[in-house]
């Protein structure tokens, strides 16, 4: 069972990774039309899977707060300015962790690797859907465009999140999955 101290430290460390990925742009994979695929939400998912929904919520809060600050202080694209609104940057991100944890816990008993993939995909989609949803409700973007972005950006981003989540957590927890040996 994980101690409170451990939860605090993991929340802090994963939060730091999320900030770091955002601040150095290592967390951005260039994608179509200038919008990038981000992995800044992966530490949220990893933290939630390892330490539970509350930790996931806190890391999500840190991620959101940083994206607000980044939008205000060092925007890298025209869309960053929208994130100065906490309803766009912070509120949706609070849900990534809990959703990832729920999915992971539900599927874990069948197959842990699949549970990790699902957590990655659904955690990422939560981010995509909720952020775009808020932008739509504010009428900052027309709904038709939102649907397109959700597909062209949201789906690949979910795939990336799944791959990284699985790779990191499987390595950390020494989970074997798929092939049983090296390909050499």
């Amino acid at each position: 069972m994980s101690s409170n101290t451990r939860k605090i430290v993991i929340a802090g460390v994963m939060g730091a990774i999320s900030i770091f990925l955002g601040a150095t742009h290592l967390g951005f994979i260039p994608w179509l039309a200038g919008a990038a695929l981000t992995i800044m939400h992966v530490p949220v998912i990893v933290g939630a899977v390892l330490e539970g929904p509350v930790v996931g919520l806190v890391i999500g809060l840190i991620f959101g707060a940083f994206s607000l600050l980044q939008g205000a202080i060092a925007p890298t694209g025209p869309t960053d300015v929208w994130f100065t609104n906490p309803l766009v940057s912070i509120l949706p991100r609070l849900f990534i962790g809990p959703v990832a944890w729920l999915v992971y816990s539900a599927i874990k008993r069948f197959n842990e690797a699949t549970a990790l993939v699902a957590a990655g995909v659904l955690g990422s989609l939560t981010n995509t859907v909720l952020v775009l949803g808020v932008l739509g409700l504010y009428r900052l973007l027309p709904w038709s465009l939102i649907a397109t972005i959700a597909v062209t950006n949201g789906l690949p981003e979910a795939v990336v999140a799944a791959i990284v989540t699985l790779a990191v957590v499987a390595a950390w927890k020494r989970i074997e999955s798929g092939r049983k040996g090296s390909t050499v």
């Binding site: 390595a171 074997e176 040996g181 090296s182 390909t183 050499v184």
Partner: protein, 288 residues
Amino acid sequence: MNTASTPIVEVRGLWHTYLAGTPLETPSLRGVDLCALRGETVGIIGPTGSGKSTLLQHLNGLWRPQRGEVHVCGLSVNDPAIDLRVIRQQVGLVFQNPEDQLFERYAGDDVAFGPRNLKLGREEVRERVREAMEQCGLPFSFKDRLTLELSQGERRRLALAGVLAQRPQVLALDEPTAGLDPQGRLELLRILRQWGKDGDRAIILASHNMEDLAELATRVYVLVAGQVVLEGPPEQVFERTDVLVPAGLSVPPAVEVIQELRRRGFTVPHAVLTPAQAIRQIEAILHA
């Protein structure tokens, strides 16, 4: 040109400033000259912050010289037209705590990472992985083990194998024995000595651990605050406690004992560096 006397690694007048142009800039190398011939093992001693790592990272093109020249294996690191990947294959750089860089789930795949990046064929990759693992004292059957389940010593050797699998001509190592237990350390030094026996290769070893250099190096540079303050064979350099001690470096215990014996009037030949050699000399004195 006599290739035997052309250095395989040559650094001339190298200057480097960290974070140049920002308010946080700090000079890390100030006019360093260094060279290594084929078949040599060159040691770089220096306290932390002396610029050893920066110097090493110039050797495989991770840094382009801001001022000064660096030549490795006949290629110039200064040349903007040079494909750095060629240099990085020729000069294998092993970082401190290299086991941190392992990322593949299975051990064999991690060793294969380097050769695969060189776009080699499947059979060639397999052969290189086998050769590299065996050079590092790891049985080829380890390739199917989970990387993280190996012990720290095994993982360090695995990381080393990953570099050797690229078949570099020069091996540059930054604090290779840091954090290893005595047995692991001796094993690693044995592996390096064996690899360096090939007369076409060269090893550059940076450490603040004098004992490692005493075991392997044929020539030693002392780097303090970005400048070379001493250079020469280890037995000569280790005599210069007047330079070493103020710099925060201490001589290996075996050498200290021998130096003390000399001070007390015993005749001991100068080339005594390792504990084994020291023991032989002490035994000779006791039986005389």
